[in-house]
Structure formats: C-alpha cells, structure tokens
C-alpha cells in the first residue's frame, strides 16, 4: 500500500503548540507511508488541490489527514480523495486540534501525542477496504410535528414546493403560541390578522393533511423512509360531521370548564371550539369536565347538534403515515413560575403571566379586550412588569435568556397605555435585549412616547398590602437605591422551556436535547436546522428561544432542507453499517434482539438459521457487533481487525 500523510497547521491553531514538521518526519517511518506534507490549511482550495496532485504524482492509494475533528471536515476530505480517483473510505483522519493542540500547552507532549494519533490512523488505514453505498427510494412526503407559526411556515413552503405534508398538532387548533398573542412587536400589528390567513392556507392547501388533537406515538425507519404512528386523541365529536356552528358550546351546561386557550384567565364550556379563528374549526369535548362523560348524565350537546356529530363513545385511534423527512416544530411552554414564593407562588390573583396578559389584552379573550384586574374587575392604574422571571436565574437552574421577553414586555407596556391612557406602566429589567430590526427603536419609543418607566433592577418580592394593591419591592441599580411601587396589576415575563413532552419526542426521533430540553441542532453555527439524525430537521423555538421572525425563517429553512433532499429520486445509504460473517454466525439471534432499529432479520441459508442485516435500515450503531458472542457481526469501517490494528499501533 502507498499512503500519504498530511499534517495540517490549521494556521497557528495546530502549529502553535504542535511541531508539525517533527510529526511529519516521524510519520515518514510508519509502514507503507511514502509521502508526507504539511499544508497551512488542508481544507482550503490550494490544500485540497495539493492533496489531489500528490495522490496522482505518488500513486497514493490511501490518505491520512491529521487536522481537526472529523465532524468538521471528514466529508470534505472524502470528496477530495474521491475526486482524485480513490474510494472515499480509503481515507482516515487524526484529530490533532480538538484532541491535542487546543487542550494541551506543552509542545513536546503535544507533538508526541499527535504522532501517536497519526500512527493509529495509518494502522487503521492499512486495514481499510473500499466501501460502496447502496441506493434506495425516497418517500417524498414530509411530516411536521407542531402547528405553531414555525410549523405552519414549513408546511406551506413544502406544500407550495409540491411536497405532500402531514401536519400533526397536539391542540385542537393550529396557531400555537402566536395565536394567543394580541399584537406583535415591533410593528404592533394584530397577531391573529397576520397569522390567520396562513392558518386558512394550511386548511385549504391541497398538499397538506392536518391531524389536529393528535400526538406522535411512534417513529421507525430512516431518512427517506420513516413510518410514523399518530395517535388521534378522542375528541368525542365526529369532525367529518362537525360544521363548527358552535351550538353545542352554547347549550353545554358545564360552564365552569378551565379555559386552556385563554391561559386559564377565564372559563369555557366542556364542549367548545378554542377560539373563533380556530383551524380546524371543530368542537372538542373536554372529558374531565363533560357531565355525560364523568357522570353519565346530560347529553345536551348530542341533542342539539344539528349534524349528529357528538360521539360519547369515541376512542383514540392510530393512523400510520409513511414519510421521507420529519420536521420538529414543537415550540415551548412557560416554565412553572410558582417556584417564586417571593412573588406569591401563584396565590395572588393580580400577579399574572405575560401570556395571560396577552389574553386580557386580546379582543377575542375572556374580557373582550377590556383590560381589567382579575381579582375585582377594576381597571388597573399602576401596572408593573417584571422581567427575567425564570430566566437568567441560576438559583433555580435556569441560566439561559428567554430572548424575546424584553420585546414583548415593551409591547405590552405600550398596549397598556393604549388601552388605559390614564395608566402608568413600570418595567423592572436587568438588561434590555433588543437586537432585532427596529427593536431598540421600539423600546425607546415605549419610554419616550408612551412614558413607560424602565427601572434597572430585579424584584425581590411582591406582596398584597391588605388594602387591595400589591407592594413590588425592587431596586434601581442606576440610582443605587431600593424602589417600591404599589401596583394594581403585576405582569411577570415568565421564562420559557421546551414544550412538555419534548424529551419523549426526542427519544422517538432519536435526536438529542440540551439541558433545558431544547432539541440539539447538528452544528451550533453551520447546521442550525439539521439534527444528528438524517432526515429530521428543526424549526422554531423547539431548537432554542427565538422570536416570530426567526421562527418563520427557520421554518422556511427546514422546508428548503426537505426540498433539497427530495430533489433526488434515490438516496445513498451510509456503507459504514453492520454485516454478518455467515461462516461464524450460529443463528443465536442475540443481535436481532438487541438491535434498536429492527435492522437484523433471520434468514434461512441452506437449512441453517443465520442473521442478515437490512442494509437500508441499519444505522451503524455497533450494538450487534459488541453483542455477538461469535464475532460474526462486524461493523464495516470499524471491524475488529481495524480496531485491533489501532490498539496494536498504540501499545506496541
């Protein structure tokens, strides 16, 4: 074999603490190494061209690059060697940046370690075999989990691009959090007016199938060929028949049902349509509050429904959809702010969340847009906004910024003035984070034109004064003094967390999530939409806090990724998958039982039971190879022989 070794300087990233020349000299003595070089930047165009030239000139049939993490540039260099005529798997990478130069300061030790890593890579490469990908068909259909603004954007873009869309929404209507907002910053335009038309487009688009009031039950398969089981929760209303006329809700006697859509600022009926612009505009029975379902006595809605849509016997049902890609757009929920006992822990009626305040401001909310105190229905004079409740607070394990609270708080303060011109708003803030287009100008306007009083400091406690108002104990760190305000209404800008159920969905999709429960993107900067599972993409706040424009942008980005993938008729599999050496296999079936993907099946070969890998399903995780008692199951490109060669090289 004729191997070429390239020791990358990576500018000074590597060369600063590794003697690259010395590593190259040492590498020359490794078996089969016939050529070494020390490019400044191997990944740059001159570096790649030089590599191609060297392959031709020195008739190399294998290449080792010692540089950064394979996560960074393995794909790059595989394409380079392929252009020069080699099989892409006749290439190995030694990570001497993240594993050596960035973490060690001693040059001698670093140089030794780098040389050893190169030696390991060479040893492995000598055992490499050319591998060829198999191609398989793609189901050109996408499933989108979550019908908030990000999911809606993805759905419409994909559908407009000719891709059939299955949109799954947990609530009875799409629209997500944005549908609950009264107005949006920084333009103060009506949220329902800009989102509503998009929701209607979803309902009317011939390429979109909507499963509302449904959850993802199970996901199997792989990129291009996912099979998703969807649990359609029992609505107790046959949506085929329901016309959304609302008679059921008018007649329902159970009028004290908690109204989740209105963030529990009001009550609704046990059978109801969540809000006037709901998509789909269909009724749902809340089983916990329906008299017929809890006590077996009532039946009023069934009696009055003009189309006979009420079905008290309805059960959950499961539908299965075959799709090629999945977009997760599951959004967020507010954290449980009642941990703040110093703010009353939820016991004070006039200390409410910002989302509840949106419903009080909204003309489709429980008060018809009349701004009143929940406790006594009076108009508040002094309204205090408290930011960073459940954000940037290590003491409750939430160090992260929720990103959009500064802006909506400014908006809510502006709206307060518009609703009640005599009122005075105060905002307790730590920093005003307004980096978006026209954002800072907006917060300035809140102060300069609407007279909102901004006070820089956190709030230590809120308590009722016994006379109908609330004492807000804050501080003004710019003034250097404690500040107390008597408030009629206190609005908490409650921090966000990943929507409930996010972790369970992540496990079904086999994608990662961070400490706060948000889905992990494939690369923080360069792959913000992709996940580490091929064919699964992210959109909106489920990936991290962001505002509406950013969510919409990411929704479109995810759609573009889906359409790029579907632009090909066939996909190639990753050939780094398991194979079974039939001579060694004893047919014990342990590999079949341990495979998390169902990628191994039994096969009868000349009367003997053997294991066989389904190449398109195998993800190359390697569980079977470590489970097989015979060493029959092997992972291509990481065979026992290759790993032993690496170990031998290091321990020799």
């Amino acid at each position: 074999m004729r191997i070429g070794v390239f020791i990358c300087h990576c500018g000074s990233n590597i060369a600063g603490t590794v003697d690259c020349t010395k590593v190259a000299e040492i590498a020359k003595k490794f078996p089969d190494v016939v050529y070494t070089a020390e490019p400044m930047y191997t990944c740059a165009e001159p570096g790649q061209t030089a590599m191609e030239d060297a392959i031709h000139e020195y008739r190399l049939d294998g290449v080792v690059v010692a540089s950064c993490s394979p996560r960074m540039h393995e794909a790059t260099f595989r394409r380079t060697v392929e252009r020069a005529g080699l099989n892409r798997y006749m290439f190995e990478m030694a990570n001497i940046r993240e594993h050596v130069s960035w973490i060690g300061k001693e040059k001698d030790a670093n140089t030794n370690k780098a040389a050893e890593l190169v030696e390991i890579a060479v040893a492995k490469l000598r055992n490499n075999r050319p591998l060829t990908a198999k191609t398989f068909d793609v189901t050109k259909k996408v499933l989108i989990a979550g019908g908030g603004v990000a999911g809606i954007q993805s759905a419409l873009d994909c559908a407009d691009g000719g891709v059939p869309v299955i949109l799954v929404e947990r609530e009875s209507t799409i629209g997500g959090k944005m549908a609950k907002l009264d107005k949006t910053f920084p333009t103060v335009d009506c949220s329902a007016c800009i989102l509503g038309p998009k929701m209607v487009d979803v309902a009317q688009h011939p390429n979109i199938t909507l499963h509302a009031y449904s959850e993802i039950e199970d996901v199997s398969g792989y990129v291009g060929n996912f099979s998703v089981k969807i649990r359609k929760l029992a609505t107790y209303v046959d949506w085929e028949k329901c016309t959304g006329c609302g008679v059921c809700s008018e007649k329902c006697p159970s009028k004290k049902t908690p109204d989740a859509f209105n963030e529990f600022t009001g009550t609704t009926t046990a059978v109801s349509i969540s809000f006037p612009q709901a998509i789909p505009k269909k009724a749902v029975i809340n089983a916990r509050h329906c008299r017929q379902l809890t006590k077996g006595k009532c039946g009023v809605c069934a009696k009055f429904c003009p189309t006979g849509a009420i079905d008290y016997a309805m059960q959950d049902s499961i539908v299965t959809e075959e799709v090629g890609c999945i977009i997760a757009a599951t959004g967020y929920d507010l954290m449980d702010w009642t941990v703040y006992r110093e703010y009353g822990g939820g016991a004070y009626p006039d200390v409410i969340t910002s989302l509840q305040y949106e419903r009080l401001l909204s003309s489709s909310g429980p008060t018809g847009g009349h701004l009143i105190r929940p406790s006594d229905g009076g108009e508040p004079q002094n309204v205090v906004f408290v930011q960073c409740v459940g954000s940037r607070d290590k003491s409750i394990g939430r160090p992260q910024c929720s990103a959009f609270c500064c802006m909506y708080t400014a908006k809510q303060a502006v709206l307060t003035k518009e609703h009640l011109p005599e009122s005075q708003s105060y905002v307790f803030y730590m920093d005003i984070r307004a980096p978006g287009k026209m954002y800072d100008e907006f917060t300035r306007r809140a102060m300069e034109e609407y007279g909102v009083e901004y006070i820089r400091g956190r709030v230590s406690a809120i308590y009722p004064d016994g006379l109908g108002q609330y004492v807000v104990m804050g501080s003004d760190t710019l003034l250097g003094e404690p500040v107390e305000i008597k408030a009629d209404l206190v609005v908490l800008a409650v921090g966000i967390e990943a929507a409930r159920g996010t972790r369970a969905l992540a496990e079904k999709l086999r994608i990662s999530y961070d400490k706060s429960g948000f889905f992990m993107e494939s690369h923080v900067k360069l792959k913000p939409v992709e996940t580490n599972t091929a064919g699964v993409f992210l959109a909106g706040v489920c990936q991290g806090a962001k505002d509406i424009p950013a969510s919409v942008a990411q929704g479109s980005a995810a759609a573009a990724k889906v359409m790029a993938l579907f632009a090909r008729d066939k996909l190639e599999n990753n050939p780094q998958i398991a194979f079974v050496d039939l001579r060694r296999c004893v047919g014990c079936g342990k590999c079949i039982r341990c495979c998390p993907f169902g990628a191994i099946k039994e096969k009868d070969i000349r009367g003997e039971t053997k294991a066989q890998v389904i190449e398109t399903v195998c993800q190359g995780c390697g569980l079977c190879t470590s489970t097989c008692p015979q060493g029959a199951a092997q992972l291509s490109h990481a065979t026992d022989n290759q790993i032993l060669a690496e170990v031998n090289a290091l321990c020799r």
Binding site: C388, G457, R458, V459, S460, M473, T477, G480, P482
Partner: protein
C-alpha cells in the same frame, strides 16, 4: 471614596481573594441585578446599597467597601442570600467584610460595635446576657444616656428586666469568661483587633 477614575490603581487583588476565601463565595458570579438591594430591609440606613458593596468587592475596592456604613447596619436576615439568582451568600460576604473591617479597626459605625461589646461584656462577666447591664454599659460607652428611656416605665412595671444578673453556677460563668480571655489572647498573638 468618590472619584474612582482609575479602577486598576484602586484594585486590590489580594482583597478580592481574601473576601472569597473567608466567605466561600465567588464574587465574579454577581451580575448586578440588584435583587439584594431590592429585598434588603436595612437598605434605607445604608450609605451604599448592598449591590454597590458587591460591586466594590468585585472590583477589589478595599477601602471603599470596608469604610462603608452599610456593613455595620446589615441585619444578617439572609434575605439577599435567599433570593440571589446566582446563589451568592451575600449575607456571608457582608459579615466577612464586617469582620475584616473590625480586625483592621475600620469601624465606621462605632455605636453598633459598642452595643455588641456592651452585650458581650455581660456575657463574659456572668455567662449569660443581662439586659439592664447591657443598657447601662452601652449608655456609658456611647454617652447616649436617654437610650430607650421611654420604654423604661413600662418595662419596669411589667417586670421585664431583672435588676440582678444571673450568674451561671458551678464555675460556668468562669468557663465562659475563659473563652473570652483565650479569644482575646489569640487575637493579640495573631496581631488582629479582637
């Protein structure tokens, strides 16, 4: 100190390390949200608010912090520590600063310290504290003769204040006195103000 124009000149890195070691807190974790100031019940009696003290300590402005009135008026109620979003035990830092100031004889509110020693002197003498004795000693030290004189008739009428101290029997008072004696001797040995 008012004109801090060059922070580098005023910074005392050793002071930062000393405060951190004695209090067990990391000063750089403070992000100046002001929650400590917001909840401090004694803030109105401070010259510098708690977050200002924290900032001074963070920057290593030793004299600025140790000369403050605030560290003497702190009630040690732990409200700041309880509600700090960065889990800083602010009350422990205030107490550490008070100890440091005392040891260096930088006591900006003498009457508070005088009251403490008036109290402790009765403990040293009898093993237990004695209210009238504490009051008398404090009046003597602070020359504030009429302290709480308005309370006296009621307190005396209700027999709330015993005229005679209780002396811990069986050598107990002596044992307590020796604790104070050793404390004082050790402080002298270590060259700090007891």
């Amino acid at each position: 100190m008012s004109n801090i124009t060059d922070i580098r000149l005023k910074r005392d890195a050793g002071f930062i390390a000393e405060v951190e070691a004695a209090s067990g807190q990391k000063l750089s974790t403070c992000y100046q949200c002001g929650n400590c100031t917001a909840g401090c019940p004694a803030g109105f009696a401070y010259d510098k608010q708690v977050n200002r003290i924290m900032r001074g300590a963070q920057l290593g402005l030793k004299d600025d912090v140790l000369n403050s009135r605030a560290i003497w008026m702190c009630l040690s109620c732990f409200t700041c520590s309880l509600r700090c979003p960065n889990n800083i035990d602010v009350a422990a830092i205030m107490e550490t600063l008070r100890h440091m100031a005392r040891k260096k004889n930088m006591v900006s509110v003498r009457k508070v310290e005088k009251f403490w020693f008036s109290f402790l002197n009765t403990v040293r003498a009898f093993g237990r504290s004695w209210e009238i004795g504490t009051m008398a000693l404090y009046m003597l030290r602070s020359l504030r003769v009429f302290t709480d004189i308005d309370l006296a008739p009621e307190a005396l009428k209700k027999q709330k204040l015993p005229f005679k101290p209780y002396v811990v029997p069986n050598g107990g008072a002596g044992a307590v006195g020796r604790i104070f004696k050793r404390y004082r001797e050790r402080a002298d040995r270590e060259g700090v103000r007891p």
